[in-house]
């Protein structure tokens, strides 16, 4: 008797989601879209400036209400160039490689933002380098309104 071929059952997942933006994200994205400014939330107790914004400070457990503007310039805290062909959930396809990625501490913020670098050559990246946000022409009110961060000086 011949060995039977193993079967696979293909099932495609097709689920649509509507993610509510809520109070904090809505404000962040509206200001980003309409004014091209990057906002963060400051804890009234410990003074930590959170980016991304969120409902509460994890150390103090107090609600975050105080918005502060942070600069569109910042310092790279960590960097890499990615060569792996990743499936991009937003693009719906694979991202072109290599692409630069970094953790950027914008001036005025205490936490760093994970975002793209314009630069994709690691020999031209280092911790501490200064970068500036490059915004999309027609901002839509999502994190993609920041296209990437360009090396400055």
């Amino acid at each position: 008797m011949s060995k039977e071929e193993l079967l696979r059952i293909p099932i495609k997942m097709d689920l649509e989601y509507r993610y509510p933006t809520g109070k904090h994200f809505t404000h962040f994205f509206r200001v980003l879209k309409e004014e091209g400014k990057i906002m963060a939330l400051k804890c009234p107790k410990c003074g930590y400036v959170f980016l991304p914004p969120r409902p509460a400070c994890g150390e103090c457990h107090v609600p975050l209400e105080e918005w502060v503007q942070v600069s569109d310039k910042g310092t790279v805290q960590a960097f890499t160039a990615i060569h792996f062909k990743f499936f991009d959930a937003n693009l719906g396809r694979v991202r072109p490689v290599p692409f630069g990625s970094a953790l950027i501490r914008l001036d005025g913020a205490d936490s760093s933002l994970n975002h793209y670098l314009e630069e994709n050559d690691v020999t031209k990246m280092h911790i501490g380098m200064r970068v500036q946000a490059v915004f999309r022409e027609n901002r839509q009110g999502n994190i993609g309104d920041i296209l990437y961060f360009r090396t400055i000086r």
């Binding site: 059952i9 689920l15 989601y17 509510p20 933006t21 809520g22 609600p63």
Partner: protein, 380 residues
């Protein structure tokens, strides 16, 4: 059951079809804060957090990753039970009994408005035999309903009366989502979704959640608080293939209830429990679960309708809050039942308080046709 774990505070959201103005983390923060306040404790006092949520409902992998701050888990332990909220409370109780913590926040939530409830439940079914048939909780429940009707002669009209009972009682529940006055005809004439289940037989999709704060005996004594004690608990899972189950027997619920009753020393639940908050996504389930929970002999739960309609549910009041029929998301529904049970024992069930509640039962379920079941008995 000894040693015991007590519930010292609770919270629940006002349930709505859509809380479009809140992200999950905002909603969860609100629930957690309110529970801590109700318990009279601060975030510092929390030792452990047990969350209950499901990635596919939240639309994100490891969806509890962005909740650490709002559940008090920064530099603290958190464990996620990816299923029924009442089971998460059971886990929380074990965390305390194992000595790993003394004060535990158990929090369960879901925002069903974000996606398609039935579409998601299709992914619970195994991909080999059942999923590709397009089964979901609704169509599976329809199978269970007919099996139940055929065996005992329960009718669609009985189910419609369940809906009226729950929505009427919900009018006394300030947190309830659905409180409109409808008639039996309204239910019977509502659109058939999966025969014999009609639109108004089904609990509406909902956004919201709830939390309980559990504490060890030692902490309760130290703080001199009056808790509601967990007297017994049981969880059980049945087989997965619908064709292999007797959908009217409810073996999992039977065993879960037996475990809970044994631990709590309950021999006659109908007489010894004053309130039962049970999770019924569909109207027929209130009757079926009531029988399996030994409140009524098999096939005779329709008695609860007679009693309610005559205002004679003095012995045992079932779902005085309006239950899930009034609108609760599926994942946290079981924990919300526990919250309601707590409120009843404490005498704090605003607008729907039952007289002199010494013992209450909370029930949660997950999986198709109640494949997974959890029962908890609480009391003063």
């Amino acid at each position: 059951m000894y040693p015991k774990v007590g519930i010292i505070g609770v919270s629940q959201t006002h349930f709505e079809v859509s809380k479009a103005r809140q992200t999950i983390s905002e909603m969860v923060f609100e629930i957690a804060q309110n529970a801590l306040e109700d318990a009279g404790i601060s975030w510092k006092d929390l030792d452990y957090t047990i969350t209950s949520s499901v990635d596919l409902w939240d639309g994100s992998t490891a969806s509890n990753a962005t909740l650490t701050e709002v559940v008090g888990a920064v530099m603290k332990p958190e464990m996620r039970v990816a299923g029924d909220g009442l089971t998460a409370a059971f886990q929380g109780m074990l965390t305390i009994l194992s000595g790993a913590a003394e004060v535990v926040l158990v929090i369960s939530y879901s925002k069903e408005s974000m996606s398609s409830r039935w579409g998601i439940t299709n992914w619970v079914f195994d991909p080999i035999y059942q999923q590709t048939l397009g089964l979901d909780y609704l169509s599976a429940a329809a199978l269970q309903t007919w099996a139940y009707f055929s065996r005992y002669g329960v009718t669609e009209e009985h189910c419609a009366r369940v809906v009226i009972k729950n929505l009427t009682d919900a009018q006394g529940n300030p947190f309830a989502q659905r409180r409109e006055k409808i008639s039996i005809e309204d239910v019977l004439l509502s659109e058939v979704w999966a025969s014999p289940i009609k639109a108004l037989d089904v609990s509406p999709t909902s956004d919201g959640g709830s939390a309980v704060i559990l504490a060890s005996e030692r902490v309760i004594r130290e703080r001199k608080v009056e808790p509601v004690w967990i007297l017994g608990a049981g969880r059980c899972l049945e087989g997965h293939y619908l064709g292999e189950r007797d959908l009217t027997e409810g073996e999992a619920l039977c065993r879960a209830a037996r475990k809970a009753y044994n631990l709590a020393g309950i021999k006659n639940p109908f007489k010894e429990i004053e309130v039962a908050e049970i999770s019924c996504t569909f109207s027929y389930q209130e009757l079926l679960w009531s029988e399996i929970l030994n409140f009524y002999p098999r096939g005779q739960a329709t008695q609860l309708l007679e009693d309610w309609e005559a205002g004679l549910d003095g012995n045992l009041s079932i779902n005085p809050s309006g239950g899930i029929m009034a609108g609760n998301p599926l994942i946290p529904a079981g924990l919300i039942r526990l919250v309601e049970a707590f409120l009843q024992v404490k005498g704090k069930a605003q607008g729907h308080q039952v007289q002199e509640v010494k013992r209450a039962l909370a029930h949660g379920t997950d999986g198709p046709c109640g494949q997974g079941q959890c029962v908890m008995v609480v009391g003063s």
